[in-house]
C-alpha cells in the first residue's frame, strides 16, 4: 500500500471527461463523494466504486479509484462479492432509482438485510435518465412520461421507508443542491460500520427538471425541509423559528423551543419509519439527514470471522487432506 499521503478531492478524479448533461445533479454528488474520500484519508487503491447502468452509474469512470461499471441492477450483488472477497477494501455502490430500486430492488433489500459493509448512494431523480425519460419506481403517481403518456398508475416507493423495511442499519437522505449537508451525510455513511443507504435527491435537468423544486428552491427550502440531526432539536423555517414535535406516531409543527430532539439510534426503527412518513403529508416539511443508525455485525466480518474460527479449530487446511481422506484405501 502506498504510504498514506493526504489526498485532495481532485486526486480522486480520473482522466476521463465527465459526460453528464450540463446542470445535472450528478456533478455535485461526485464531488461530494470525492471530498468525503479525501477527508477520510483512504488510499485511492483501496477504494472500489461499483455501479449498475444509468446516467448515475457512469460514475466509476470518473473516479481515479478501482471501478466496476456493472450491468443493470446488479451493483449491490457485484459489490457484495468484492467486499466479502476482500473486506479491507472500501466499497461504494453507485446506483439510480431505476437501477437500485426497480430491476435491482431485490439485491438492494438483501444487501441491506445482510448488512454488507457497503456505502450505497442512490441517485434519485425520479426518472430513467439514460433511456431518455420513462417513469421510475419513485416517480409520483400521475407523472406523465414517455411510457405513461396519460400519467403513471404506479404508486411509488418511499426509498427511506423501503430501506427501513429491509432492516437497514444506516438510512439517510440528502440532496444535490446542498453540498455542505451532503458532505455531512456522506461522511457519516463512510464512517458507519455496515451497509449505509443514502438517498440523494438529484435533479435531471433534461427529463424531469424541477421534480424537487417545490422543496429545494432557495425561496421555499427553509420552510419545506427540516434537518434531523442526532441529539439535536428538529428546527426549521427561514428564521429557525419552527420545530417538529414528535409525539409517538404523531408529528406536528410547533415553535422552535417545543421541537423534539432527533434520535436515529435505538432498538426500534419505528421513529425513523414514522419520520419517513412525513413525505406523504403536503403540510409538512421533508426531513433530511440520518434517519437511522445502529451498529450490527456486518456480513463481511461474520464470514471472515467464521473462517478464522473454523481454521483456528481445524488448522489451516492442507489440500492433500481434502483429497486423501480417512476412508481411502490402498491397492497394491
Amino acid at each position: 500500500m502506498s504510504e498514506v499521503q493526504q489526498l485532495k478531492a481532485k486526486d480522486f478524479k480520473s482522466d476521463q471527461e465527465v459526460r453528464w448533461c450540463p446542470g445535472c445533479g450528478d456533478y455535485s454528488i461526485i464531488s461530494g463523494v470525492q471530498n468525503t474520500l479525501a477527508s477520510i484519508g483512504v488510499p485511492k487503491e483501496n477504494v472500489v466504486t461499483v455501479s449498475g447502468i444509468g446516467c448515475s452509474s457512469r460514475f466509476p469512470y470518473y473516479m481515479d479509484t478501482y471501478g466496476f461499471h456493472g450491468i443493470h441492477g446488479r451493483a449491490n450483488a457485484i459489490a457484495t462479492g468484492v467486499k466479502v472477497a476482500n473486506p479491507d477494501l472500501d466499497v461504494w455502490v453507485i446506483t439510480g432509482d431505476g437501477d437500485g430500486l426497480s430491476i435491482g430492488g431485490n439485491h438492494m433489500i438483501h444487501s441491506l438485510r445482510r448488512n454488507v459493509n457497503l456505502k450505497i448512494i442512490l441517485f434519485n431523480n425520479e426518472i430513467y435518465g439514460l433511456t431518455k425519460g420513462q417513469y421510475s419506481p419513485t416517480s409520483p403517481r400521475g407523472l406523465k412520461t414517455k411510457t405513461s403518456p396519460f400519467g403513471s398508475v404506479d404508486a411509488p416507493f418511499n426509498p427511506i421507508q423501503l430501506a427501513l423495511g429491509a432492516g437497514a442499519t444506516f438510512v439517510a437522505r440528502t440532496m444535490d443542491v446542498r453540498p455542505a449537508h451532503m458532505k455531512e451525510v456522506l461522511l457519516a455513511a463512510a464512517q458507519h460500520k455496515g451497509a449505509a443507504f443514502v438517498e440523494v435527491w438529484q435533479n435531471c435537468v433534461i427529463f424531469n427538471d424541477g421534480a424537487y423544486k417545490s422543496w429545494t428552491d432557495k425561496a421555499v427550502r427553509d420552510e419545506k425541509i427540516v434537518d434531523i440531526n442526532a441529539g439535536q432539536p428538529m428546527i426549521f423555517g427561514k428564521d429557525k423559528d419552527k420545530g417538529l414535535i414528535m409525539d409517538g406516531c404523531n408529528i406536528s409543527v410547533g415553535k422552535a423551543e417545543e421541537a423534539s430532539t432527533w434520535q436515529p439510534a435505538g432498538e426500534c426503527a419505528g421513529t425513523a419509519f414514522i419520520m419517513s412518513q412525513l413525505d406523504r403529508r403536503e403540510d409538512m416539511p421533508r426531513p433530511f439527514g440520518v434517519f437511522r443508525q445502529v451498529e450490527q455485525p456486518t456480513l463481511d466480518e461474520l464470514v471472515k470471522g467464521q473462517i478464522d474460527e473454523v481454521t483456528a479449530q481445524k488448522g489451516v487446511g492442507d489440500l492433500k487432506d481434502l483429497i486423501y481422506t480417512r476412508d481411502a484405501w490402498v491397492v497394491d
Partner: protein, 615 residues
Amino acid sequence: MSSENDLIRQDDVTIRFVGDSGDGMQLTGTQFTDTTAKVGNDLATFPDFPSEIRAPAGTRAGVSGFQIHFSSHDIYTPGDAPSVLVAMNPAALITNYKDLKPGGIILVNTGAFTERDLQRAELESNPLEDGTLTGFRLIQEDINQRTIEALEGTTLGKKDVLRCKNFYTLGMMYWLYSRPIEPTLEWLEKKFAKKPELVEANSKALKAGYNHGELLRLFQGRYEVPKLDDAPKGTYRNIMGNEALAIGLVAGAHLADLKPFLGSYPITPATDILQYMSLMKNYDVVTCQMEDEIAGICTAIGASFAGRLGITTTSGPGLALKTEALGLAVITELPLVVVNVQRAGPSTGLPTKVEQADLLQSIFGRNGEAPIPVVACSCPADAFDCAVEACRIATEFMTPVILLSDNYIANGTEPWKLPEMDELPRFPVTFVTDPEGFTPYNRNEKLVRGWAKPGTPNLQHRIGGLEKDSKTGAVSHDPDNHQIMVELRAQKIENVRATIPTPEVNGPESGDLLVLAWGSTYGANRAAVERMQKEGKKVSHLHLRHVWPFPYGLEEIFSKFKRIVVPELNMGQLARVLTSEYRQFNFETHYQVKGKPFQAFRLKEHFDKILEEIS
C-alpha cells in the same frame, strides 16, 4: 465358515435396493457400496430419488432406490438390468420388478404387505400371490418381524426398532455376497457415538440379518465376487460426483494460487456442491448463499475482480438466469467458473432426472458475440479433473468457463484413484503490480489481459459492460475498435485449443463405427463399445471432455471411420455443433430424452444395427 464350500463365483453383480423414502435405502446402499469398495471390487452406483417432494409413505411416488454394480473387472456404469432386487414394500416392488434380469433374485419384506400397504401402492391384488413375479427367484421374509425379534429387550420404542430393518436387510445381503460386516459396524460406532443405544440396536440388526442368511440358508447358495486384480496400484476413495466437483474446485483455485469464492443459490441437483464447500472453511473457502442465481454469479464476478477465483454453481434454469451476467464476465475478461449440473428440462422439467440438454445454451446462449469455453465431466471421478481443468482455463485465459455435469454424475459414486499430489497440474496466477505502461487490456502472447486487483497501488482502473478501447481501456464507441475487440475475444478462446490435448480413441484408430460422446454417457458408451470390441467388431469410442472449443486433431480421427454416431441424452445437440464445425462429416444422432441414463445393452443394439447396415 461352514458355507465356504458352496460359494458360487460371480464376476459381475448388480443389486437394486428399493423401498419407501423412509426406509433408509440410500443409507443401505452407501454402506453396501463402501464395504464393497474396500473388498476391492470395481463398482458404480446410482441412486434414484423420488420426485423432489416428500410423498405419502408407501405410495409409488415415495419409492426411493439405490443401485450398485460391482465386479471383478473394470466397469463404467451402475449396470443395466439388476440381477438382485431388494424390495421393502409393495410400491417399491411393483415399480421396479420389471427392470430385473430374467431369473433374477427378488428379496421382499413381507412384513410390509398388509392390505393397507397394498392399497397405498394402488394394488388390487398381492403381487406375491397373483403370479406377477413368475420367472423370478422370489425370497420372502418378514423383515419387520425378524428385526423386532432380533432387538427384543432393547430400550427403543417400536418405531425406532423398525427403523433398524434396513440394517437387518443389509446383513442378509452381506452374507449373500460374502462381504465383511466390520466396516459397517465401525461406521455405526462413529456415526452414533452420542447415541450408544442406536449403535447397539443397528449392530444387532446387522448381525442378525447376516446370521439369518448363514443359518436359515434362505438362498440356494451364496455368492462371491472376487476382487478386481488388475486394479491399478494406488490409493482409492469412493466418491460422489458433486463431492468430487467441490474438492476439484477448491483444488483448482489452490493450484492457481488463489482463494476460491463461491456465490450460489440452491437448486437440485447442484446444491450439494455448495453444501460441501460450505464445510471447507479452513481452506479459506468463502461461500455465499445469495438471494438468487443472478446474485450468485454477480458476487462471484465481483470476487474475481477483487482477486479471488469466482465460482458459481447451478442447474439449467439457474444457468438461464445467469445469461446476462455471463456476458459481463466475457467482456470484462475476468476468470469465473460456472458449474451447471444439468437436469431434465425444459423449464422446471423433471428436476431429479438426468438429461444433457443444456449444451447449446452453454455454448451459444448469450446476447452478442460472447464465446465461452465449455468443459464436461464424464463420471464422478472425472469431475475432479474437470473442475481443475476449468479453473486452469479460467485463470490462464481470464475468461468464464462453463463446467457441465448432470444428475447422473452428481449423485453417482465410484472408486476414485486419488491423484499423486506432485502430479497435479500447477498454473499459478501472477497479478499485475507494475504501473509501468499498465492498461487494463494489455495482453500477453495468448491475447490474455493482465489481472490487476484492487488494493494494488497505482493500478486503479475501471472495467465494465460497455465496449472498451483495445489500447487505453477507456469506453470506446469507435466502430473499428469494436470489431478488433470482438475478434480479440474470439481469438483468445480459439487459443484455448492449443492448450488442450487431442482426446485418445478407445480402440483401434480406424474402423467401421466411431461412437462419439460427451458427459455422463461415457460409461454406457464405453461399456457397449468394449463388449462389441470383444466380439471383434470394428468399433471405437471417442469421448470429448472439451466440448467448446474443440481440441485440434478431430478431423484426423473422424476421417478414419466409415460412420460416426453421437449418442446423447438430448435431441442431438453435440451432433449439431460438430456439424456446424466439421461439415465434411456426417454425425448421426442417437438420442434419448427420458430422464434416464442410457443402458449399455440398448446402445449396443443400436450400434450393432449400424454395423449391419455397413456390411
